[in-house]
Amino acid sequence: MRTARSRHLVSGAMIGLTYLAAVLATLPLLLILVHLLTKGASSLSLAFFTHMPRPVGEPGGGMANAIVGTLVLIGIATVIGLPIGIGAGLYLAEKKSSPLASTVRFLSDVLNGLPSIVMGIFAWEILVRPIGHFSALAGGVALGSMMIPLVTRTTEEMLLVVPTSLREAALALGYPRWRTSISVVLRTALAGIVTGALVAVARIAGETAPLLFTAIGNAFWSTSLSQPIAALPLQIFAYANSPYDEWHQQAWAGALVLIAIVLIISLAARFATRSRFGAPVD
């Protein structure tokens, strides 16, 4: 028979362990950020943003092409993923319980969990293999395909927060359904949808595996959609696996820039969320 005292000791100890878990879980993130800052910042310079990569042995050089390439890939992915995702999200929010809606909801969640490498293989099979060469477009399609289910689900979630009464009020004023959806419901949920879109962009911005099969990287300047294109994650991967110290330095600098892009997008998303909750919806 355990005494009350020992039970309270156990309780205290277990609560203490959850505190320890919180410390241990946040530790890696802090470590990674510290290392990125110390190792990355030292090799970061203006040239890193404006110059092309140089061969080993030559000092200087940057990742201008990879930075631009990443932005191009994000752009293509957004053009594909955002409209389709928002359209599908609208459908899910409006036809909540139709069989197609339940299927799409489930499959979106399943797609969100699929390894990104699978998306790479898919885009390679439909856009690289038949055409015969790697391309920025294929990379954008792979990343855009990853964005679709992400945006679909967050859009739906944000639309469901909008009270039904608002939709009814618009319909009762004589708004057609489509205008009710676009200029009242979507408009009201816009801040949340922007957040969801930004989170999705942040998520795909750092993807590497799908690009190995599609964009593949490019040592030269290219913004052509039909040609292979450089990307920050690919460049970091290549440099990190190289045996040269200078390239390792460049990889750290590249990682710092990549994480800065991702963090800025994530923080923007946080900010957009905050202003959403700042304005009372109901």
Partner: protein
């Protein structure tokens, strides 16, 4: 003043172009439905394209691709059993490390955290999911691996005498199954903790109060009233984390050592299915090699598909119970 003409509705019909808006409604509905249909179409297209690419290898080699362990490109032998083994072992190690931490954090955030800490800690843990995999890999190569090789591995093997077991025996390579497991644990942690936190928060207050009213301590309340209620949701979260770990490519490729061997020791290098595909894809010259890699991809696809579907089903069943 209300003397409307009897055909007022008819007049309005023309004035408001109501036929046009009925048509726009149809167009709108068709457009959103088409967007929604993209999702199932994508799933089918992915499955078809992978199996089409894998078909030549399956036709020629059958299941020997995952049941044999001789991977010899020039000899035409493609047995990827070590990669399957590595995928399963690295993910298991990751879950063993990540699960208690993630659930601990989730309990901390949902039950015990002082309110000023809740947001920042929650944000930092969520942020783990935002770090690109290649950055984890970079950090793994230059920070984690030296740390493991110089301190953690000798400590486990010699100080704790775990070297007597097959799991921690042999020389301490830096790139290893253990390194992959640790990286994967960090990467899976935010997914497990986010889902667990959500289902813990969904446990009704009455459930907790009933336990406390019976004289339970705060921990007993969590253990006996809260966790059982949230159990299947937490398991769903763990499975989502597992799905992540199984399919993770870049970070693992960078730290696992990429050696196609089955070794019981976590201190030795290994390979995973995803990293095998990523590494050999660009070097694959003959069609059978390429197809064999795609076959490995197809098997990975099936495994992660099943794991994810079960995970979603578990999480949904909790959500549905809450809705009732």
């Amino acid at each position: 003043m209300t003397s409307l003409p009897v055909d007022w509705l008819e007049k309005d019909r023309r004035k408001l172009r109501v036929d046009a808006s009925a048509f726009s409604d149809k167009v709108y509905e068709a457009l959103t439905a088409a967007c929604a249909l993209v999702v199932p179409a994508l799933v089918i297209a992915i499955a078809l394209s992978i199996f089409a690419a894998a078909w030549p290898a399956f036709a020629k080699l059958g299941l020997s691709i995952i049941t044999t362990s001789n991977w010899d490109v020039s000899g035409g032998h493609f047995g990827a059993a070590p990669a399957l083994f590595g995928t399963l072992v690295s993910s298991t190690v990751a879950l063993i490390i990540a699960t208690p931490l993630a659930i601990g954090v989730a309990i901390f955030l949902s039950e015990f955290s002082p309110s000023w800490l809740r947001q920042p800690v929650g944000f930092l843990v969520d942020l783990l999911a935002a770090i690109p995999s290649v950055v984890y890999g970079l950090w793994g190569i230059f920070v984690l691996i030296p740390l493991l090789r110089q301190h953690v591995m000798p400590f486990l093997r010699d100080t704790l005498h775990l070297g007597a077991t097959p799991f921690f025996s042999g020389p301490a390579y830096g790139p290893s199954m253990l390194a992959a497991g640790v990286i994967l644990a960090i990467m899976a942690l935010p997914y497990i903790s986010a889902v667990s936190r959500e289902v813990l928060m969904a446990v009704p207050r009455s459930q907790r109060e009933a336990a406390l009213a019976l004289g339970a301590t705060r921990w007993e309340m969590i253990r006996d009233a809260v966790i059982p209620y949230a159990r299947s949701g937490i398991i769903g979260g763990i499975m989502l984390g597992l799905g992540r770990a199984l399919g993770e490519t870049m970070a693992v490729t960078m730290v696992i050592g990429n050696r196609l061997e089955i070794s019981a020791s976590l201190l030795s290098p290994g390979y995973t299915m995803a990293s095998l595909i990523a590494n050999e894809f660009s070097e694959a010259t003959n069609d059978l090699h390429l197809s064999a890699l795609m076959a490995v991809g197809a098997i990975l696809f099936i495994i992660t598909l099943i794991v994810n579907a079960v995970a979603r089903w578990l999480v949904w069943s909790v959500a549905r119970r809450r809705a009732q």
